[in-house]
Amino acid sequence: MPDNVVVRDLRKRYGGTEAVRGVSFAVPAGEIFGLLGPNGAGKTTTLECLLGLREPDGGHLEVCGVDARRDPRTAKRKLGVALQSTALPDKITPREALGLFGAFYPEHVAADGLLERFALTAKADAPFDSLSGGQKQRLALALAFVHAPEVVVLDEPTTGLDPQARRELHDEILRIKRDGKTVLLTTHDLAEAEQLCDRIAIIDRGRIVATGTPAELVARAQGKQSVSLVTDRPLAAALWAGVTGGAEMSCDGATVSFRTADANASVAAVTALLAEHRVELVELHVRRATLEEIFLGLTRSGATATEAAP
C-alpha cells in the first residue's frame, strides 16, 4: 500500500519554544492512524502544519504524493478535515454549508446523499446555531467528505459528544476505513484509539515516543503486569518501596498500585510484608498493563523515541 500521508522530520518553533522536534510518520492507504499525546505535546501543531494552517520551520509533508508545502492547494484537494470544533456562520443551514464547501472543489458529492449518510436530513434546512453538538459534529464530518477526499483528518472528533453520538461517530469512522480512505485521527481517549486505530503514534514534548499497533504497544510492556491492592489500614510508602522496587508505584493511603515483571514474586513479597505488619489484604488485582498505563508511563517519564516491534 502506498503511503497517503508522509511526515518527515517536521519542526516548528514558537518563539523560544520548539513545539515540534523532528516528528516523522507515514500512513498508508486504508489505515486509521491515531496521534495521541497530552495537551501541549505537539500533535495539534503537527496536524496544523499538515493541513496548511501553519507554516513549518522545517521538514517534509506529503499528501497522496503531493508536496504539501510546495503545493498546498493541491494537497488540500486530497484532504477532508473535521476540526475539533466546527465553526460555521450561525444562520447557514447544513444543506447550504454542504453546497458552499462543495463549490470550493472541482468535484463534489451531492448534498442530499451526505445529509442522509450523516443523519442530517431532518435538519437539512435548520440554522447551524440551532443544531445540537452531535449534529454539528456530524455536519463537520459530512463537510470533510464533501469532495470525496482520499485522506480524512479528524481532530478529536468525539470531544463533547454523548455516548450515543459517540458510538454513531465510531461506526462512521470505521465505515470510512472500509471505503478504503486513510484516516488520521487525534484523540485524548485511549479506549477510542485502541478501538478505532490500526496504528498509533504517541507524541510527547514535540517528539514521537512510540509508534505501533495498539497490540504492539501493549506487547511492549510484555512481562510487566499491573498489580493493585487495598489493605485494611495504610502502610508507610517506604515499606512498599521495598517490595515493589519503588519505580512505577503509586501509594494512596490503603490503596497501592505498581507494575512488575514477576507478578508471582511480587504478590508473595506483598503477602509476606502484610503478614509481618499484621495488615489484612482486602482486595488484590493482577492484570496486564493497559494502553493508558503505557501512554502515561511514556509521557510522564519523557522516554526517548522508540519504535514498537512490527
Binding site: 493541491t74 465553526a87 470550493f104
Partner: protein, 452 residues
Amino acid sequence: MNGLGEHLKLSVRLHFRNTLALIYGYLFPLIFLVAFWVLYRHEKVPLLRHMGELLTVSVLGGACFGLPTSMVSERERGVWRRYRLTPLPTWAFVVSTAVARYLIVLSAGLLQLGLALAVGMTLPEHPLGLFVAFTFVAFALIGLGLVIATLADNVPAVQALGQCIFLPMLIIGGVAVQLASLPTWAQQLSAFFPGRYAVEAIQACVTGDGLAAARFSLPALALIGVAGCIAGTKLFRWDSAQRFATRSGKLWLIPVFAAWAAVGVLAEWQARVSARVAAEMAAAIAVAPVSKEKPWLALTSKDVAQLNFRVPSDYGVVAPYAAPDDEATDYTKDELDNVRRELPTWRPGLRGDDVQRVRNLLCVAAVPDAIQMPVERYLPPVVLQHLEDTYPRDQLIKILTWIVLHPDDGTVVDNIEALGVQGSAGDPFVVRERSYLYALKFIIRLTGRDRR
C-alpha cells in the same frame, strides 16, 4: 470561480438573515435620511443637496463597521479557519467578501435614494454618473474596512478603530459638517480623508456637473481603495490566534497611509483645498450687473399679501430670530456692536442696485444661520434695523417682496468676515434659501403680520 460565486451568494443571503446587520445596514441610513429631511425641511427640494453626505454616511457605516465586524466575528469563531482548509485562495475570499459588502451598501443606498425621491427629492442630474461615483466611494471605503478587519483582533477593537475613522471623517472630514463652515486647518486636514472626496463625487452627480466635476475625487478614491484592498489581502488573518502585534508583514500598511497622504498632498499642491473656499469668496464679492430699472416699484400691496408666509419658528434651528427680550451674552453683544458699526460701510451692502444690496445685506443674517453660529438669531434684527434706516418702509417691503419672488436672481455673499463674523456656509444655495426666509420674516415684521 464557482466557489467564489457560491461564497458571494451565500454571504449576501446570510446578511439578510441577520437582524442586527439589517438594523445597522438599512435602518440607520434611513434614520439619517429622516433626520436630514427634518433638519432641512425648509429647503425647496428636500434632501437634494445632502445626498452626497447621506450616501457617504451609509457606505461608511457598511464598510467601516459592518464589513470588519462581520469578518472579525467570524474569524473569532473559527469560520475563516475552516475556510482556510479549502483550496480556494485568500484573494478569492477577500474579493467575494468585498463584493458582497458592495452589493449590501448599494442596496442600502438605493433604499435611501428611493425614500428621498418619495419625499419629494428630484431625480439626480446624472444617475449613471451617480452609480459610478457610488461604486468608487464604496471601493475606497471597503478597502478601508478590510484594513480595519486586519488591524482589529476582536469585535470591540473594530468598534474602537471604526469610531476613530468614522467620527473625524464625519466632523472634520466634510461628511456631516460642510467644509466651508470649518476652520482653515480642518479644511486642510479634510483633504487627507476619503470622506471629503466621497461627498464631492456623489454630490457632483446629484446636483453638479457629474463625473466631469469629480476628476480629482474619483482617482483619489480609487487610489485609496486599491491601497486598502492590497493591504487587506496581504495582511489577511484567518485565525484569531494570530494577533496583529505578532503578525509579520506590517509594512503593507505603508501603502494605505501613503495613499491617504499622497491624495492630501496632491490636493494641497493643486490648491484644491482652498480653491472651493476661494470660489465662494469670489462669489461673495461678485457684483451683479447694475440695473437702472426698478421693476420692484410696480409691486402692490396685493402682491405682498399673496406671498406664502409659512416660515420656520423664530425659536427653531432654521432662520431663528431673537425676541426683543432675548438678551445676548457680552461676547455676542460685542460682535453685534461690531456688525452695527461696520454695516453702513460694508462694501457688498453698497454695491449693485437696490435689490442686490438688500440681497447682500440679507446674507449677513443668512450665513451665520446656515452654519449655526451662536450669534445667528441676534443678527436679523440688526440687519432689519439697518435696512429700515436705509430705505423707506414701503420701498423696503417691495424690494424684499421682489427678492422673495425672485430668490435665484443676482448673487449672494457667503463671507462676512469684514463684519467680524468668521465662517461661510460653503453653499450659495443654502445662503439663498436662508435669505429668502429672512426676507419673508422681515416683511412679516414690516407689515405688522407678526402682531396679528
